[in-house]
Each structure stands twice: as structure tokens, then as C-alpha cells.
Amino acid sequence: MDPSTPALELRGLVKKFVRPAVDGLDLTVRTGEFYALLGPNGAGKTTTLRIVAGLLKPDAGQVSVLGIDALANPVAAKRDIAWVADEPMIYEKLTPFEFLEFVAGLWSIPAEIAEARARELIGWLGLEPHAHERCQSFSKGMRQKVALAGALVHEPRLLILDEPLTGLDAGSARQVKELLSERVRNGVSVILTTHILEVAERMAGRIGVIDKGRLIAEGTLEELRSRAGHAGGSLEDVFLELVARENDAA
């Protein structure tokens, strides 16, 4: 595949429920990029990511994942995608080891390869002592780690994370951040939503700010600072300024 092909390209994306949740969104995530999608509650972040993951169909627009038309060929697009929601999607009655076997099976990863990756992820995320315990007794942080391991076991090229650090303690959050950074260094593209702006500030190469279903600003932290007129300001200041301006303009 051409390395210049974007990992994700959204054009004119529209999704309405009672009112528009996504309203003509254009967005591009480059290959090997860590992209943070920020926005106030109800801005359309999760709806956008669910459309990309193939969990919702848009009313209009185009979705291209690594050059594949995800609306015309969703199964092909999903092969390279992993989706991690803020509420961990795991099975209480399965162990992490069994869960990873199940996920690898869904993505048709050969058992030997999947097992080696699973063991590596279980070790990396500190789940070894609990690998053969049912998830029903796990804390939210541990469940989130299991879900993240499930997302990585099939080695996706585009990782979609919706508030992945919710419920994680400081140590676990650091483990996850290191894991994500390592994946990005290896060419994986990450698109992440978070309300923890420090995470976006430190990790994201580019940041998109979305409000009322539309992209209102995009760029590196420096570019956003300059656009908001907050040279040297924190991302929080920049974000609040950009959203306030948008609301004033509306």
C-alpha cells in the first residue's frame, strides 16, 4: 500500500438521530499518526468513531480506512481496525486468556501467532497473575486492560480508542500510554477521544476539535495555540477558547 495513503479519511460525514450528531465532518488521520479528537459532551466524537468502526451507518458521506471504502467493503476495512470503547467489551465468564483466543478467532489469526501475541500482551499489561481467572471479579481498570489486549491481539493498523483511560489508575494509565506510543512508533495509527487533555497534549501528533458534529479546529498543539491566541497556553485553555468562540459565532 502507498505509505501516503491516509489511515482514515472522512468526507462529508453526516449522521442524524433526533438532531445532527455528525454534520458534514471532514477528517484525515495519517498513517502512523497519533490523532486526538477532542470535543465537549455530545459533540459527535463517539458517533464518528462508531461509524468508522462499522457500528453505525452514516446518513451521508464517505469513510475510507487505509484506502478501503469502509461503507462499500466493511469486512475488509474491519480487518485492520480495532475499537476500544470506554465501557470495556469483555465476557465476564471468560478468562483474559480465553477472551484473547476468542478475539483472535474472530479476526482469523492463526492460533500459534495469536497465542504468542496474547502472552506478550498479557505480560505487558501486568495481567499474568489473572490470565486464567474469570473477568467477572476484575476491577474496571483490569477489564479495560483486557479489552485493550483484545484490541491489539490482531495487530490492527488503525486503533480507535474512545476514552480508553477511564477508570485506570496512574500506573495502568502509564502502561497503556507506553503501549500506545510503542504501537505508533511501529507505524500503527491511533485516533483517540479523551477528556483527559493532558494525554492529548503529551501524546498526540495532531489534535482535532469537534463541536456540534463539525471539525472546528485541527493541527498540532502549537498550531492550535496560535489559532486560539494562547501562545504557551495549556491545551485546556486552547480547547475552551476554541469551543467558546464557536459557540459565540453560532
Binding site: A53, K93, E98, G105, L106
Partner: protein, 516 residues
């Protein structure tokens, strides 16, 4: 100072919490009946009135002829009333055990209650009284019309039946509390939860099934009422002064016996609450700890190669196998196969005509079983987004889940059909055909009406869709009828089959469109 300070500081009374409990019970019930959709209350009221009229008509049809002639407390009447009382009591006990268990394990508001300065002892005492009232109320809905008809035609003395129901509700709740607490102390919270839920379900079905088994063994017929009319049973019944008849005689209006029964029931409930309520809070805390107990899974250390469909099927079976409560709930319908299995054993090699009765029972059970399992596999999927985001076509996922359901049904039903094949191959072939179409129909209805729900709400799966519930029941019943008629060689099987196909077509036509 807040304007709410005074009312809140006064609010920890038993009456206040009792009102709160009853309000929750009422809203929970309305929500269950309306599937949580607003604006359906008038429809619910209309359905309730229609149900009341219908059940009064049924009661009239069944008991009015006897009531008009005047009912005397002869052994047969006492036996029938006592049997009916046992049936009501087994239903009450079943419901009370389920409610008491849920009171200890459901986390909904217990964290809030136990972290408040309110007395846990009082709170749980009120909760247990509320359970007793709810238990009595639900059985009264079914038994009340019979009491009303009897009172109308044979005199108001029969209204004493309501008092007997109240006494039985109190007794059933007292017994349920005592058994649950004793199990808690002796077996621990984890086992108690499972055993109590299974026992409550078995108790609920047990009396009906037991009466059928006894009827089969004593007379070879297949009616739960037969046993109460049997000459042997009537002859063996104790004399009219026996304590066994007190509830029946109280229901017929004998005041002293009613007073004794009420005093005994309510007194026992009060005593049980007084004895055990001091530790209710401790039990809840212990039960909450159970959720955090780790369950180590022995066995495989290696991944197994498998196709996507196999992976999905295996997951469904593992989840079902590891949830004993769900499995017991799902397989509970199989308990109803015990009487026909006994009939099969009794008739083996003798009168093959009796085996015809097996066909509708097996066909109906397989339809219900398939519907329940399909709900678990499709609507009760715990990680729907994970499966939907996998590179697997939706059709392949559904196919794998259907296969998982069909195999599970086959494992349960096939031994009976095979046993039948030895005795009557043609009847077995008809039964197998009926099982296949009934299970397929139950499964497809659940797929057409799939929604997202928690597996733990399985016992309320009918609230997901009333149409699906009714269609599943009609399809199971009518396929059972079709198979029975076909096995009997009746041409009427054809029209009944057409009717069930029309119902299925209608159900398919009004299925909800799945959200894109």
C-alpha cells in the same frame, strides 16, 4: 438551611421506607409490563381489565356449577382445595425465595442504603414485609377470581380465602427467609445464590410436575387434577378433624381456623424477621464480596485453531455452561419433560397410543428452549460492539449463533426422541420434525426481534418484546398441536400448520427494522 432538612431528618421511619419499597415495586411492575415505554399505561390498564374479566370467566366456567349446587366440606372437596392451596403455596414459595435472594444480591440500591445512617435491620425488615405483600398479591391475582365466583354463588364465607392467601404468603416468605439465611451461613453466599435460585424454580414447577408424576403412576393418565379425584387418594385421606384440612376449611369460612392460620403465618413471619434481621446487613456485605471473588479456570494453556463460526459457537456454549443460574433457568422447561418421560417408560412396549401425548410436549419444550437460548445468544450478547466490529459478516455471526442454539437444543431433546424411536419409529419421526420446526421458529422469532439486553435479565426477557414473546408461545403451542395431530394421523394437522406459518409470516412482517 435547606427547606428539605426537616422532612429528610424525619424520614427514616418504617412507614416511609415501606412506601418507598411499594413505589419501587409498582414502578418496576409497570415498567416490566410496558417494556419500559412511556404512554402505554392506558393500554396496560385495558389489558389488566380484560385479563380480570377473562380469568373471572374461566373461574366461572370451572367452579360455578359446583358453587351453584352448594359446596360441602366432604373429603373430595377438602382434597381439591388443599391441593390447590399447595399449588398456590409452591408458587408463593418459589417467588418469595427468588425475591429474598435478589434482596441480598441485587446491588441496585444496597450500597446507598448500607452507606446511609439508616438502620439496616429496619430497612431489611421492611423489605421482607414488602416481599410478603408482593408474593401474596401476585398469587391473589390468579386465585382471587375463583374466590370471587365462589363467594358470589355460594356465599360471602368464601371471602375468607383472601385471608388464607395472606397467611400463606407470610408463611412462604418466612420459610424463604429462614432457608436463605441458613444456606448463607452454612454454604456461603456464592453457593446460596445458585442453589436458592434453582430451588425456587424447581419448587415453582415441582408441585405441578409432582402431581402429574403421581397421576401417571397411580392411574396412567396425564392430568394433574386426576390425582385428587383418585379413589385411592380419597380413601387414604385423613378424617375431617385433621390439621391438614385447616387451610381448606379456613378458606371455606371457618372463622377460628382462619384466625389461627393468620396468627400462625403472620406470627412466624414476624418471628423470622426478628430473629434474622440483625444479620441482614452482614449477609448483604458478604454477598457483595462474592462479586469480587476470583474464579480460577483450570484447563487449557494453549490456543486452539478454529474457524470464526466455531469460535462463536464455542463461546456461546462456554458462557452458558459457566453460568449455572442461566443454565438452570433455560433448562427449567426440561423439567416439564419428566412426566412424559415417565409415561414413555411406563408405556414402553405396551400401549403405543399413550406415547402420542409425548409428541406435543417435546415439540413445545424444544420451541421454548430454542427461543430462550436464541435470546441469550443474540440479544444477551455481552460484547455486541466487539462482535460487530470484527471482520465477520453479520449473517455469518447469526448463522454461528443459530448453530450453537440448535446443537444445544439437540443435545437436550435428542435422547428423548431416540428413546421414542425404539418404541414407535413413526411417532419419533413426527416428533423430530416437530422439534426441528418448533426450535427453528423460536430461534428465528428471537432473531427478528433482537435487541440489546443484559444476560442477567433473562428471567425478564419477555419485556424485550411482547410480540416476540406471544409469537414464540403461539408458535411452540401450535407446532406442538400440529405434530400431535400428524402423529395421530389426523388431516387437521395441515390447517394448523398453515395457521402457524401465517402467524410466523405476520410476525416477520411486523418485525422491527434493525438500526443501521
Amino acid at each position: 438551611m435547606s427547606q428539605f432538612a426537616t422532612p429528610i431528618s424525619r424520614s427514616f421511619g418504617i412507614a416511609w421506607f415501606g412506601r418507598h419499597e411499594l413505589r419501587l415495586f409498582w414502578r418496576d411492575w409497570v415498567s416490566m409490563m410496558t417494556a419500559g415505554k412511556r404512554g402505554r399505561e392506558p393500554i396496560l390498564a385495558a389489558v389488566a381489565v380484560a385479563f380480570a374479566v377473562l380469568i373471572h370467566m374461566l373461574a366461572y366456567y370451572l367452579v360455578a356449577p359446583y358453587a351453584e349446587a352448594g359446596i360441602v366440606p366432604d373429603p373430595e372437596t377438602l382434597l381439591m382445595l388443599t391441593g390447590g392451596g399447595f399449588l398456590a403455596c409452591s408458587l408463593m414459595l418459589s417467588q418469595a425465595m427468588e425475591s429474598v435472594t435478589r434482596a441480598f444480591y441485587a446491588r441496585s440500591d444496597l450500597d446507598l442504603i448500607l452507606s446511609s445512617p439508616a438502620s439496616a435491620r429496619r430497612v431489611f425488615a421492611v423489605r421482607m414485609i414488602a416481599i410478603a405483600l408482593a408474593t401474596t398479591l401476585l398469587t391473589t391475582v390468579l386465585a382471587g377470581p375463583f374466590i370471587n365466583v365462589l363467594a358470589f354463588y355460594d356465599g360471602p364465607r368464601w371471602l375468607a380465602g383472601y385471608g388464607v392467601l395472606l397467611a400463606m404468603g407470610a408463611l412462604a416468605t418466612a420459610f424463604a427467609i429462614a432457608v436463605t439465611i441458613v444456606m448463607f451461613r452454612s454454604l456461603g453466599p456464592k453457593r446460596t445464590r445458585f442453589i436458592s435460585q434453582v430451588v425456587s424454580a424447581v419448587v415453582g414447577a415441582g408441585f405441578v410436575i409432582g402431581a402429574q408424576v403421581a397421576a401417571i403412576l397411580s392411574t396412567g393418565k396425564f392430568s394433574r387434577l386426576e390425582i385428587f379425584r383418585s379413589e385411592d387418594i380419597v380413601a387414604a385421606a385423613p378424617g375431617p378433624a385433621s390439621l391438614l384440612w385447616w387451610p381448606a376449611r379456613a378458606a371455606m369460612g371457618e372463622g377460628v381456623m382462619l384466625a389461627v392460620l393468620l396468627a400462625f403465618g403472620l406470627g412466624l413471619l414476624a418471628a423470622v424477621i426478628a430473629v434474622f434481621s440483625a444479620n441482614f446487613g452482614d449477609h448483604v456485605v458478604a454477598a457483595s464480596g462474592e462479586a469480587y471473588e476470583s474464579t480460577r479456570q483450570r484447563g487449557r494453556e494453549r490456543f486452539r485453531p478454529a474457524s470464526v463460526k466455531r469460535v462463536l459457537r464455542r463461546k456461546e456454549w462456554v458462557l452458558l455452561r459457566r453460568d449455572p443460574w442461566l443454565m438452570s433457568q433455560t433448562l427449567m422447561q426440561i423439567l416439564y419433560l419428566a412426566p412424559p418421560a415417565l409415561l414413555l417408560w411406563r408405556n414402553f412396549g405396551d400401549d403405543l397410543g399413550g406415547l402420542l401425548i409425548l409428541v406435543p410436549v417435546i415439540v413445545m419444550a424444544s420451541g421454548q428452549l430454542a427461543g430462550g437460548l436464541a435470546w441469550l445468544a443474540v440479544s444477551g450478547e455481552d460484547a455486541p460492539d466487539l462482535v460487530a466490529s470484527a471482520p465477520v459478516p453479520e449473517r455469518a455471526v447469526l448463522t454461528a449463533k443459530i448453530e450453537a442454539v440448535i446443537v444445544a437444543v439437540a443435545v437436550v431433546i435428542a435422547p428423548l426422541v431416540l428413546a421414542l424411536a425404539f418404541a414407535a419409529p413413526r411417532i419419533a419421526a413426527v416428533a423430530a420434525l416437530g422439534v426441528a420446526v418448533s426450535a427453528a421458529s423460536g430461534t428465528m422469532i428471537q432473531i427478528w426481534f433482537r435487541s440489546q439486553a443484559k444476560r442477567s435479565t433473562f428471567h425478564r426477557r419477555q419485556t424485550s418484546s411482547r410480540i416476540a414473546t406471544v409469537a414464540e408461545a403461539l408458535s411452540s403451542i401450535l407446532w406442538a398441536g400440529t405434530a400431535a395431530l400428524l402423529a395421530a394421523g389426523s388431516w387437521f394437522a395441515g390447517p394448523v400448520a398453515v395457521l402457524v406459518l401465517l402467524i410466523l409470516a405476520g410476525t416477520w412482517a411486523i418485525r422491527p427494522r434493525q438500526a443501521p
